[in-house]
Symmetry: D2
Subunit: 126 residues, 4 copies
């Protein structure tokens, strides 16, 4: 199971089933899931908080740090999938719709290596 071959829906279904058979879904209101997302993102920030940006680039090469990052990234992703499932908002469609908006808001620069629109505050296309 890799990103190249795994539809988003497969991951969503897996975590939704995992929660359902354990009877957790009554707790998975969008409000509670958003709060859980804040918790898990906090744990991800904890991995990097004392590292320099350069040390953070090197972190995946360290076995312990790589495992911690993978663990927290999976936790964050799972809540995103649960939120998509619980709200009925298709994630791929939402991402694509946002990208269409951002292609307009942040036009591609003429020179691909130069910094185009979005320099300064944003740089995410968000």
């Amino acid at each position: 199971m890799s990103d190249a071959t795994t539809p988003v829906a497969a991951l969503k279904d897996a975590i939704a089933r995992f929660a359902a058979v354990r009877g957790w879904q009554p707790y998975h209101t969008p409000k509670n899931l958003a709060m859980a997302l804040a918790s898990e993102v906090g744990e991800l920030c904890e991995v990097f908080r004392w590292l320099t940006p350069e040390e953070s680039r090197a972190a995946p090469a360290d076995a312990t740090l790589r495992a911690a990052i993978a663990d927290e990234l999976a936790d964050v992703a799972n809540i995103v999938f649960l939120l998509s499932e619980q709200t009925g908002i298709d994630l791929s469609e939402a991402v694509q719709a946002k990208m269409v908006k951002n292609e307009i808001k942040y036009p591609r620069p003429v020179q691909p290596s130069g910094e185009g629109a979005g320099a300064g505050g944003d740089r995410l296309g968000v």
Copy 2:
């Protein structure tokens, strides 16, 4: 493009290309991306913060709230994809590895409708 038919890699590639042609990648260290994730999750929390859990369940039925949720969910997802890309950690593999751990940590209950292991604090399999 829907979750049923979209591989995770397609979404990762799209946001990675979007950032690359705009020259944003020097800013996309894992440390900075984790911080950006905290910002975007904060915006998602803002949508729900004064709603009751029940109101949050109904929110996707409201056009304005649905659009706001979809927008923030896409933003959060995009940073998760950028983090996966920048760290070289395959998201599907990380999610699957976490699920294997959690199947052991939170065994399925005998009665699927009953609440199994994980009652209390967790209820996410995280």
Copy 3:
């Protein structure tokens, strides 16, 4: 030492000294402290994430929950104090300046019990 009798500066000085004698200040850049704040707020959110709003009101009456809330609240407060110290921004002055802005943005209603300006999204004066 209680809120009635403790100047903000006393708490700021205490945590700043605690960090200084341990040689932690090189790590306490505003960027890193903001990231640490996201981590600690995540832990606070973890206390409440599966509770209903009503259960969260009752939580301080439970000894274990009260201790957890006090612990996380202290952690969050300490980072706010460190940020005030490191940036040289006086917290009381900043809070007062914001309140002046908000008195204009959210005028007091005529009937004190009715909901005045700010109904809907904000309700914090932020």
Copy 4:
């Protein structure tokens, strides 16, 4: 009104009154306030997310950045005060109790300039 001369209670009372006369307190359950804290901390992270740690140290010298930091710091502080008020947990006592615990957990080093206990992951006394 400066940190040297302002008791914590004065700031707590001010924001509590501000909210009360506007009828906002029904929304200020600890759960909702924790979620609001995640939102405001997200805004603070947004100020620093693309800055290097060194640039973040220099940020308060820039008038625009200083104003943004002060604004977000005030917002975060106000929610901490509201949480202290709503839960009945005295902030100064909580901070002091945590410091006592941390003096034991992170003993002062013999040489004050050397790095003492807490090197590595924590460095906050949290």
